[in-house]
Amino acid sequence: MAVIHDVMPAFELFQPGSISDAVALLNRYGASAWVMAGGLDSFDWLKDRIKRPSVVVDLSQVQGLRGIKAANGGLEIGAGTTLTELARDPQVRDNFGLLAEAAELVASPQIRNQGTIGGNVSQDTRCWYYRAGWSCYRAGGNICYADSPTAINREHAILDADRCVAVNPSDTAPALVALDAQMVIQSASGERIVNAEDYFIGPGVDITRMTVLAPGELLKAIRIPPTWAGAQFYFEKVRDRNVWDFPLLNVAAAAKYSGENIAGIRVVINAAAARPLRLHAVEAAVIGKPRNEETATLAGQLAIQGAQALRYNGYKIPLMRNLVKRAIRGGSGTWTS
């Protein structure tokens, strides 16, 4: 364990002005390059002296990463768009209020003023063993310190754990999955498009990464199709403090109705696993059913099937059940802001 966790070590800094320059730099420096967007996740690692990149590629000057525009009936959001810009954007608010609400609940105003949507969805986990620099699975070691009989794991996973029990802490990620967004990834060899649902990966796929982004790749933009524009949305974030806190759990849902019945729905929970989980079983079970307490209760029960508690996170199971229930039941009563 480190004997000092302070003072950012020196690094070489590049500030490309265009996406092509940025990608060229990432290509040139490969795994030794650290991509910095808003920098809020990065600074924590760098100031703690745990991650020691020799090269930092700062994206703040890349004009092409900023802004929100209408595209193909939906929206294309530059990955460098700040969370405040996202939360205030009329196109987002009018058609995809779920995402605006999620963005508004991230951390604090100053962080939203600087943090980007690309950074928020690509951020690393906040497991306090891993973040303190312990040599766990995720850090390349062969143990999970958070999954031992004495570990304090109140914030950790109840679903889909595989050696590592860390969770994804993003608020906007589940909203993007619920909206069926697509992630536009650029590298020197070209562009590829990944569904939001597949962008996030669990430890079973790669225990050292939270997303499919590989060295040399840059998340360029996020496309939101018109599919769920103007649908009924539900977002709720449960956290200890009412500002500047990561979710203990959050839920995002988008639904369409045919009369009283649920015609289509996507329900996503985050901070329950290492990636936002789309609750396919819940979706399948409630489609065609009326939106009422009975359906909501059924959804809640289904949601937690297979959930496994660690020593200190048992509360997440009833919490997830109730959040999913509320997401189906809908209505006001969001407590998170």
Binding site: A10, E12, D21, V56, T84, S108, Q110, I111, V243, W244
Partner: protein, 211 residues
């Protein structure tokens, strides 16, 4: 985004070395004696790479252009406090959690502890020292604090004032709840927040009266 000059702001027709010599001789560079952080010097080859960064930059702080020698990893709070002598911006956590270092960058509240100085070249930076008028007349939000005395130790105060000034630019007539959300990125350990909010609401009212 406002900053079009994304690579380097040194005039292209002046060789870099001569330029540095020139400004040092003319005294235009802020003195960093004693507080200069060491350079990185990790890579010598980067000068030709796209996006490479020069250390000597211009910062616009409180309406003045200041030439300053900035390390690659230097944060805005460090530059302000240790290079420009603007110690009103406080470091409470250095981890973007407490808000004591809040300054405005192009009118937007940011945690100066978590902004690389190089990312705000040519941007408009405002600190607590720049709020009062040249004749000493306090900014309406500063006056709100005098009127209501909302703080105790006041280590958090500059951050709260800057966060409020920034928030009021987007919503000049907030409700108490709205303003509380607007300044919720700032921690206070002495007070109850209720009086801080009262002082800041008073500041908002002072601003509206003035406007």
């Amino acid at each position: 985004m406002e900053d079009k000059d994304v690579t380097e702001d040194i005039p292209k027709n002046v060789s870099r070395r001569n330029f540095i010599k020139g400004v040092v001789a003319s005294g235009a560079v802020v003195s960093t004696t004693g507080y200069l952080w060491r350079s990185s010097a990790l890579h010598g080859q980067q000068a030709s790479a796209p996006g490479s960064v020069e250390r000597l930059i211009t910062l616009n702080v409180n309406g003045q252009d200041r030439r300053v020698d900035v390390l690659k990893q230097e944060t805005l709070a460090t530059t302000l406090r240790y290079k420009l002598g603007l110690t009103g911006t406080k470091l409470g956590c250095d981890r973007a959690e407490c808000g004591a270092c809040t300054v405005l960058v192009d009118d937007v509240p940011r945690y100066a502890c978590s902004v690389l100085t190089h990312t705000v070249r040519g941007r408009k930076i405002a600190t607590i020292e720049g709020l009062a008028a040249a004749d000493g007349t306090l900014h309406p939000v500063q006056q709100g604090v005098i009127d209501e005395q909302g703080f105790q130790c006041a280590f958090c105060m500059s951050g709260f004032i800057m966060a409020t000034v920034g928030y009021l630019k987007t919503n000049p007539n907030p409700t108490r709840t709205e303003l509380a959300h607007g300044i919720s990125g700032n921690l206070c350990r002495c007070q109850d927040y209720d009086k801080i909010l009262t002082a800041m609401m008073c500041g908002a009212e002072n601003m509206r009266k003035k406007a």
